[in-house]
């Protein structure tokens, strides 16, 4: 089933004109103002390191797992961080299963650049034995529903999953101190990752008439817009990454306006993520307390046998 014309979704000319005309009066088709973000809801799964983020109608799931591997030759004291993006066919009828297309690769690269090159995740603390054993953190981002602006939602999902992920504690042992013993979570409490700051991706859409600018485009607006730009900033005002690949040219003052907007939005989104993680952590702690009565009960029965 190659992408047949009958199955691909096309916006009609009437819809496109309506969106453009409405934007001239600063009205967007979902009722937002041009610089208003959609509602973000962050939920977590049962296990550590799994998050589900909903940005308006866009839905992304993030999963973090860790494995002990050999480090890269040129970086023997650093852990490895890798991001895998899955544009699931359930998100959009035009997404095909199999190899990631260019949109998926671009999204993965933007999230990767924001996390790795800005040193948001501390990779040196992932090193157990220099040159031999380091933790490789793998982030899987599954796009479940494409309602537009996948980059921002995927970025928030990755950050939320990283903040709630716990890696097992391990210590060096063996005869020559070269063996790594990984302690199971029941024996020793797993450790959180060291995250220095939260790089938040904010996307903008540019429209050709009167150089109109909107923040957080929906998928209808994405089909109409002339260009897009994604800026990754953190709450401290640092710019971690800017991505503007092609599309129409915009004057410098528009870029400056975007950056200022992004910094103010990043602060509120950072607070939202941290609040959600706090709630999850307290729930997690409560769950641990409840477990103890049944586990001591089992021990008693075993001793009687």
């Amino acid at each position: 089933m190659e992408g047949r014309l009958a199955n691909s979704w096309r916006l009609t000319v009437n819809d496109k004109n309506f969106i453009k005309t409405a934007l001239l009066s600063e009205i967007r088709i979902d009722g937002r103002k041009p610089f208003e973000f959609r509602k973000i809801s962050i939920k977590f799964g049962r296990e550590d390191g799994s998050s589900e983020v909903q940005l308006g109608q866009t839905r992304v799931m993030g999963m973090v797992t860790a494995q002990l591997v050999q480090p890269y030759r040129d970086r023997p004291k650093e852990g490895i961080l890798s991001i895998f993006t899955e544009f699931s066919p359930m998100a959009d009828p035009s997404f095909e299963p199999g190899r990631p297309g260019e949109l998926a690769v671009e999204l993965g690269r933007i999230v990767d650049r924001g996390l790795r090159e800005s040193r948001a995740v501390d990779t040196e603390s992932l090193c157990i034995l220099a040159g031999k054993f380091v933790w490789a953190i793998r982030i899987d981002l599954h796009i479940l529903d494409n309602g537009g602006n996948l980059v921002d939602a995927a970025n928030i999902a990755a950050l939320a999953a990283l903040l709630t992920f716990r890696r097992p504690e391990c210590s060096l042992g063996g005869e020559d101190g070269q063996e790594v013993i990984v302690h199971p979570p029941e024996i020793r409490e797993p450790l959180p990752l060291t995250v220095h700051h939260l790089p938040i991706a904010i996307s903008f859409g540019f429209f050709s008439n009167e150089s109109i600018l909107v923040i957080d485009p929906t998928h209808n607006e994405e089909a109409v817009m002339g260009g897009r730009m994604t800026t990754t900033v953190n709450a401290n005002g640092d710019i971690c990454a800017i991505q503007k690949s092609g599309g129409e040219g915009v004057p410098r003052r528009v870029i400056m306006q975007c950056l200022q907007l992004a910094t103010s939005k990043a602060a509120s989104i950072t607070k939202q993520i941290k609040d959600a993680v706090e709630v999850f952590n307290t729930e997690r702690a409560l769950r641990k307390i409840k477990r103890h009565p049944t586990s001591t009960g089992d021990d008693v029965r075993e001793k009687q046998n």
Binding site: M1, R4, S50, M90, P93, P97, L144, D145
Partner: protein, 247 residues
């Protein structure tokens, strides 16, 4: 020999025939034509349906509708186990859907594993059925799936968690048609003298079990499928009174 009234120690305190708490919600995705999320205890699966789309694949019969299943694991590459699940789901759903209504079309079902804590394939089959109902794909009846485990000492437990699945001698995934409440006279719903819900659509076993064990599993599974059918019926009736999806 069969300890039917034996008290079995299950970690979460359930009895032999007790299922985990079920939760199901439909119409959760906006782009997909039909979607459902199904959770049994901690096992959670998300299913989405797109269809019917024009055209069938090369090796499929164009005189009938075709069903395509894509299984997405939680993490990692797609390998042989995922392909096996896709094949089992495809064949199960092909026997449940009415394929002659929309010939030369393909209906795609995408299953995403959110969390795996035992009985993954049955949860996926249940989720896929609910998603097909949400999309309005014509079906003969629903498929109700259940997992039964046989322990070394011969007792059978239903709906195991992942730890229980690994400890057991053998387990079987069983899929039955749902139980029927009908205004039609009894006779018309029987196949060769037996009520339709006594049939088995799919059965996948892992491990060694004796023939007696297998038939006992079928009995227990059938009884549990009646409870599951009731849950599905209540869930579907409740949500059908809500406002329908627009656009």
């Amino acid at each position: 020999m069969r300890e039917t009234a034996m008290e079995v120690d299950r970690e979460d305190g359930r009895s032999q025939n007790q299922l985990r708490p079920l939760a199901c919600s439909r119409n959760i995705l906006h782009r997909a034509h039909g979607s459902a999320s199904w959770s049994q205890g901690d096992t959670k699966v998300l299913a989405a349906v797109y269809g019917p789309k024009a055209g069938t694949k090369k090796n499929e019969n164009p005189e009938k509708a075709c069903i395509e299943v894509i299984w997405k694991p939680k993490t990692g590459q797609i390998g042989k186990p995922e392909k096996e699940y896709e094949m089992i789901l495809k064949r199960t759903l092909e026997s449940v859907c009415i394929l002659t209504v929309n010939p030369n079309t393909t209906t795609s079902i995408i299953v995403q594993v959110v969390n795996d804590d035992g009985a993954l394939l049955p949860s996926a089959i249940n989720a896929a059925c609910m998603a097909l109902v949400d999309a309005g794909i014509p079906m003969k009846h629903l498929a109700v799936a259940i997992c039964c485990c046989v322990a070394k000492s011969g007792y059978v437990i239903l709906d195991p968690t992942k730890l229980e699945e690994q400890k057991m001698k053998a387990f079987a995934y069983l899929v039955f048609p749902n139980s029927v409440h009908s205004v039609l006279p009894e006779g018309s719903l029987r196949v060769e003298g037996e009520p339709i819900e006594n049939g088995i659509i799919t059965s996948v076993t892992h491990g060694i079990m004796s023939v007696d064990d297998y038939f006992y599993c079928l009995e227990r599974g059938r009884a549990a499928s009646v409870k599951l059918s009731d849950f599905l019926r209540r869930n579907l009736q409740q949500q059908s009174t809500d406002s329908s999806k627009a656009g």
